[in-house]
């Protein structure tokens, strides 16, 4: 189920809020869990089994780590001593948790990638008969990358003594499955929310702030991300693109992915606030960054801090000398790229960012173009990020390279590759000329311009809604109504991060 859908806005959401507030406090987590499973199962009922399996394993591992598996319900659960010695069973439990989550992720997310690469390899070695093309294709369960990371963080936090294990399985199932952020984050670490799971407040002020977040999230998705997505889709799906259109297309994609993803985060945070939860910030105006290091402090913060705390630091972080630090940075970004999607494109995207981060680290975290004025550094950073988005958006590696070629006017304008076909030449040029008929319509140009203004000049949602005078509340609602009106004219338009 998509937040920006008729069914969610006018069906699921009113029902969920009604059920949540009508239920007695003691049953609210159970109600929220049932609603969350229904929300998740709507995409594919079979996916619920995968999430349930992950939940059960991590719940039991958590209790084992905390030494509570055979204790009675009444005995208080205590946090483990930080840095203390752990028993064999505790080490085993955390290992089982991590391996089971990584196995789930590996099988569902990387099985197809592995078979595709194997097939390419045997093809290259001249052994096409050994190909596994007929082997089954695995369907990726929605949001698996997010909830496995969340679930894993629970076991690790309990093991490290950063969090107290949950005795109540309903509370834990509620944490893993919570529908506002289940499918596309933010990745909520257990330690960031455990207190709220036990006790939180529900106030009119919180609900109003949540409604404001929700209205603005919907506005970002419908008014900015989707039209920019249309421009990007038209250029990236075309056989040929003129250089200017190619730049316009990838710029539109950079706005699409930012507003799409930050819209989801705003919607999730807004829904969380309506239910009494306060989720951490996930975006902080990333395109205003003056260096790649700063960009990663502002973009998808919940992932970058997760990778920092659960991967970069355990690898040694920056404590083992310069060279090792650069290797760690590159490795974390490489794996971060692979986390986004099982394709070489994402590996290259991650490697590109990893290299840039390592290069900036070598300069004392200063931008590579330090000599430029601040606005120049922001523009240069955006330019580098823009180039990396080509790999993120293009269908595959050859398409990425061809698209970059189109941007720089290299080797004709072919995006398709292999176009030594009869009448292709003249027809392709004309096909490229046709794109302008769609992507430069006033609606798309207006949305693109607005997106640029909001991305570079507007305050982010957290700051803007901190004070909510009447005019801001009215503006939020007005934008919400406009978004809902435009929603009727848009087809099914899922969030980009649904596929990750």
């Amino acid at each position: 189920m998509v937040f920006s859908s008729y069914l969610f806005v006018y069906g699921f959401l009113p029902l969920a809020l009604l059920a949540y507030y009508l239920l007695p406090r003691i049953l609210r987590h159970l109600g929220l869990t049932v609603l969350s499973y229904a929300f998740y199962g709507w995409a594919n009922p079979a996916f619920m089994v995968v999430m349930l399996a992950s939940t059960v394993i991590d719940y039991l591992c958590g209790l084992t780590i905390a030494g509570q598996l055979n204790r009675t319900w009444r005995e208080p659960v205590r946090s483990l001593e930080r840095g203390g010695i752990r028993t064999r069973s505790q080490r085993l439990a955390v290992t089982i948790s991590v391996i089971s989550n990584l196995t789930l992720l590996g099988v569902f997310k990387y099985f197809n990638f592995a078979t595709d690469n194997y097939n390419a390899l045997v093809g290259w070695l001249g052994m096409p008969d050994a190909s596994l093309d007929s082997v089954l294709r695995v369907v990726l369960p929605l949001g698996i990358s997010f909830y496995t990371f969340q679930s894993m963080s629970y076991s690790i936090d309990v093991y490290r003594g950063h969090a107290v294990a949950l005795r109540n399985p309903i509370d834990f199932a509620c944490y893993v499955s919570m529908f506002p952020q289940l499918v596309a984050g933010p990745i909520i670490r257990f330690s960031e929310i455990q207190d709220q799971l036990l006790k939180r407040t529900h106030t009119l002020e919180k609900f109003a702030r949540g409604a404001a977040f929700f209205c603005l999230g919907m506005t970002k998705k419908i008014l900015l991300a989707n039209p920019c997505g249309k421009i990007a889709d038209t250029t990236f799906d075309a056989a040929a693109v003129l250089p200017l259109d190619a730049w316009y297309g990838v710029s539109a994609y950079s706005f699409q992915i930012y507003f799409d993803f930050s819209a989801y985060s705003d919607l999730a945070i807004g829904l969380g606030l309506m239910l009494g939860f306060v989720f951490p910030k996930n975006f902080d105006s990333p395109y205003k960054s003056a260096s790649i290091t700063e960009f990663w402090r502002r973009w998808h913060i919940s992932l970058s801090t997760w990778l920092r705390d659960y991967l970069y630091k355990p690898l040694g972080g920056n404590r083992r000398g310069g060279r090792r630090t650069y290797v760690n940075l590159a490795l974390v970004m490489l794996l971060g790229g692979l986390w986004h999607g099982a394709a070489w494109n994402f590996v290259i995207w991650g490697a590109f960012h990893g290299l840039l981060l390592a290069a900036e680290r070598a300069r004392g975290k200063r931008a590579l173009f330090e000599w430029l004025p601040h606005s120049g550094r922001v523009a240069a950073t955006f330019g580098l990020v823009l180039l990396s988005w080509v790999f993120f958006r293009a269908e595959d590696l050859p398409s990425s390279i061809a698209y970059l070629g189109s941007m720089f006017g290299v080797s004709g304008v072919s995006v398709a590759g292999g176009l030594a076909e009869g009448l292709a030449g003249a027809s392709l040029d004309n096909g490229a000329a046709l794109l302008g008929a769609v992507i430069y319509k006033p609606y798309y140009v207006l949305s693109f311009g607005l997106a640029a203004v909001v991305a570079f000049a507007a305050p982010q949602t957290w700051d803007w809604t901190r004070r909510l005078p009447l005019w801001k509340a009215a503006l939020c609602l007005g934008l919400f109504w406009l978004s809902l009106a435009l929603l009727t004219s848009q087809a099914y338009n899922p969030f980009i991060y649904f596929i990750f």
């Binding site: 929700f214 799906d237 910030k281 000329a433 005078p469 509340a473």
Partner: protein, 427 residues
Amino acid sequence: MTPITEREAQALKEAGHTDVSRAVSATMVTLFLATICAVPILQAVLSDTFGAADVVANVLPETARTARRDGLLAANRVLLGGIERFEEVLEEESLLRRWILPPTQRLLTDFLGVGNEQAYLGRGGWLFLRDDFDHVTGRGFLEPRRLRRERLAGSRAANPLPAILGLHRDLAARGIELVVMPTPVKPTVHPEFLAAAADSGLIHNPSFGDFLGRLEIAGVTVFDPSTVLAAAKARSGEPLYLRTDTHWTPRAVELVARELASILRDFIDSSHPQADRFVRRRAYVSSPGDLARMLEHRGAEETRASERIEVARVLTRQGRPWTPDRKAQVLLLGDSFTNIYSDAALGWGTGSGLAEQLSFELGQGVDRIAVNAGGSWSSRQALARGTAAETRADRLAGKRVVVYQFAARELSTGDWKVLEIRASAKP
């Protein structure tokens, strides 16, 4: 309680405390809840259709039955199909959508210059089908990487060549010639009405030339009407496609029928043509095009106005309407490009379609199987059924040539499953 994390503390500080008055909070929450609750309440009170409830009532027992019969995975598929249908029906029956969409679409079309997911706005009130645009500007439909992706996705057979070559083989086994006629879509012939920057030449999908070449190498006769239409356009400059419809004009149909007839004469017995078997009678029809209807709004005058066009109705010499002739030597397999001006459901009258004009040009009857939007699959399936062993009257009996017409966009979007045509007629 454990110490709260830095991020949680920051979040609690930033989002947990909002500077908002109680009156504004109350107003905001009330209006927000009213917005999301009013729609389902009004729908329940005012609507007299309950399709979504019917879907639920049907799907749940069906899922349970399937689970018992075929197992949980099969039941999951049924349930998933039901969920999709439920959402579709919910949106179709939505009163909000019915009230809000027309003015919203009007705003988008008249002031912001865009169509919708199905129809694109061109220049001077011309409308284009999105799938046609995507086909013409998109990647080559024979590109190996694309074909492989489609094969792995498993949703459709994307490569048209095996299906067409299979049809050619099956027909050849029965001594019947196949003439393949990929019909150009509107942006191919009239790119100038879409973008000023495009010249007025033909624009094909990048794989189109390769596709024609491979058919010719395999010995398949191909008739590409785009060359005829391009020549006619260059001669007269008159539009050969309708402004607000996906399809070609009656004039284009006549031109193509004449050229097609000249090709078919090589394959059929035309020793006794009856030049006066059919007559043409000019008439006028007017209708809003299918693309204008797809825009679902009462938009700008130039896009909503009906087009009035002259058609040439084909009648028998006795003045009776033309009908398909099962005994004809020619069978025309087609889609809506065959049916336009022939199938009343398309809104442009009857008796003037491609089969009718072909009959007129040949001076003899023509048999026809035409399925709207079914060029890649449904028309071939209908032919396969018409020649199946259990069928009494073999649809190919007495045929010398089969013309296989389909919209060129089907090469990019169609399902090209290979179908078998029965080898010989029932004894």
